[in-house]
């Protein structure tokens, strides 16, 4: 009896804390979206409100009348994120396959090497990277943000962990007997086997690339090449100083696509985080 009561109290505590934390997750975005529909005067009178107003179109008009161009940022971010994700997925799978399927002398050395370098962030080598790109006159080229994805040590690591228990060498052997070339076996047989891992890794690679601020900030100086996070940083500039409603509108425009995609894919994303595939 006593234990039951104790259990019920415990349960109430758990739900209250969880609901409070859930509200804490949603509230900042809700205030943002509501303020995006309110006029600057309304916000100046009361900066917090839970009920939307009717100045949405007006805010959009002011926002787009200045240097903030969400369409350009969106397109550039899309090109970079898709390009980087496709390259990272394909070549990481290929490298992981080389690890799992073949017996080569330097295999273990190479894997240890991948494990060591996967922890080293790109940021600490940025000065050299910038100088190199500047020397060959490739700043403001989106390709410089896409091509490095070919070598993604973290993804190779997770792809290998997935492939190791999943790949049966018998299938590969029988394909060989049927006369398939090694490269074709990878493309036609191994890649389809890896679909579940590819799906999770693709989501995280895409999001990481989409949210990346540091590298584009260093490399891109041309407004036409700006990515979404750099576009967002323009909202902090002086030109929007008093246009509160428009700033919230701009932020909302960058967040909404992410929230929609997140809610659609949340099942896979949570499963992916559980595998430990996000950090780093």
């Amino acid at each position: 009896m006593l234990k039951n009561k104790e259990n019920r109290v415990m349960k109430i505590v758990i739900y209250v804390v969880c609901i409070l934390l859930a509200i804490l997750s949603v509230l900042p975005f809700w205030i943002m979206i509501v303020n995006a529909t309110r006029s600057t005067t309304e916000i100046q009178q009361h900066a917090i409100s839970l009920i939307p107003s009717s100045y949405m179109m007006n805010n959009i008009k002011i926002l787009l009348g200045k240097s903030f161009n969400p369409a350009v940022g969106f397109m550039n971010s899309l090109i970079i994120s898709i390009g980087a994700t496709v390259l990272a997925i394909y070549f990481s799978s290929l490298t992981a396959y080389a690890q799992v399927a073949y017996n080569w002398k330097l295999r273990n050395v190479f894997f240890s090497f991948i494990m060591v370098v996967m922890m080293i962030p790109a940021q600490v080598t940025m000065i050299g990277f910038y100088q190199m790109v500047y020397k060959i006159h490739m700043t403001n080229r989106l390709s410089m943000l896409i091509l490095p994805a070919i070598a993604s040590p973290t993804m190779v690591f997770f792809m290998r962990q997935y492939l190791q228990p999943t790949l049966s060498m018998e299938i590969v052997q029988s394909a060989r007997i049927d006369g398939a070339k090694e490269f074709m076996i990878f493309n036609r047989i191994v890649l389809p086997i890896m679909k579940p891992a590819i799906a999770t890794q693709a989501i995280f690679s895409f999001v990481a690339s989409w949210n990346n601020l540091f590298t584009p900030l260093v490399l891109l100086t041309d407004q036409k090449k700006y990515t979404m996070p750099i576009m967002v940083s323009l909202l902090k500039g002086d030109i929007y100083k008093t246009e509160y409603g428009s700033v919230y509108m701009g932020l909302t425009l960058t967040v909404l696509p992410l929230i929609v995609v997140y809610l659609l894919l949340s099942k896979y994303i949570i499963a992916g985080v559980a595998l430990g595939g996000v950090k780093g």
């Binding site: 415990m10 758990i14 804390v17 949603v26 900042p28 943002m32 009178q45 009361h46 900066a47 070549f91 990481s92 290929l94 490298t95 396959y97 080389a98 690890q99 399927a101 073949y102 017996n103 080569w104 494990m115 060591v116 370098v117 922890m119 962030p121 790109a122 940021q123 600490v124 080598t125 940025m126 000065i127 050299g128 100088q131 190199m132 500047y134 091509l147 070598a151 040590p153 090694e182 990878f186 989409w210 949210n211 601020l213 540091f214 900030l217 996070p229 750099i230 967002v232 940083s233 902090k236 932020l251 967040v255 992410l258 997140y262 809610l263 949340s266 949570i270 985080v273 950090k279 780093g280």
Partner: protein, 331 residues
Amino acid sequence: MKSKKPGYDRYAKYGYIFSIPFVIAFLLFSLYPTVYTAVIGFTDLKGLGKTDIHFLTDDLFRNFKTVLSSPSFQLAFRNTVVIWLANFIPQMLLALLLAAWFTDKRSKVKGQGAFKVLLYMPNIITAATIAILFSGFFGYPMGPINDLLVRFGFIDAPIELLRSKTVARGVVIFIQTWMWYGSTMITLISGILGISPEIFESAEVDGANRVQTFFHITMPNIKTILLFTLVTSLIGGLNMFDIPRLFQDGKPDDATLTTSLFIYKQAFSGSYMYNRAAAASMVMFLIIAVLAAMMFFVMRDKDEVKLNKQIRQQQKAYAKKMKAGKENGSC
């Protein structure tokens, strides 16, 4: 396992061939920039658009000495460590508590899926956006926080909250915690679910309560995951950039200046001191490399122990077989 019969390794060359794209991209976009950064650290390279390098002739290590003795870098490093510690500890405690609740069979928390989705959400949103959003929330004279404080009578008139070092740093710490505890929680939950349920059952049979079970069974069994989280979080924390940069750009009074932000400001503003920024980068690189190596040894040991065990077992089995074969032969 590693038989070297001729013909067996007919396909071995494909291991090399398929690794070529990775290696080339790594050499071009990672190794070369790393070495180049290290080299720049020993030169006098500064000024926008400059690329020619001349090694320092008077004192090769001058940039490193300047950076290490610079109060600004020291402050940035202290800030980075303080901000990381102050967000990691509450983040870890909260994540552990939630993970214990969500995996506890006795409480059976309903709606876990929805809670996980909501608590993880801030992690997926662009950090740049979040930094600017919070900077707006703490706006002066009229931001949502000031509005709340005035409405509920805590203060009479709006105050410029972000002029306080404590508030500015506190908000950065809050944002970091808020963005990452959901992720840590999910990682820990998956770790706890990986523990064999029998251990928990026998603990329950032995009359262990929730707290005892947590400290004596759950915690020791997720040690590796805790360490993994610690090191990845530390490396991420040492590179904190987006939030401090777009929240207050290191202000007020450099209270939110982190090492990454210091490096960025040295190299890409003011007098474009690429050489000093490179030296500072290398200092951070060394710290992170040591952490990564530690991580590598801890993670590798486990795999290797397992592998060695397997090999030993196989050898034993093989020896037995040989022995049996010999005996059969002698008969």
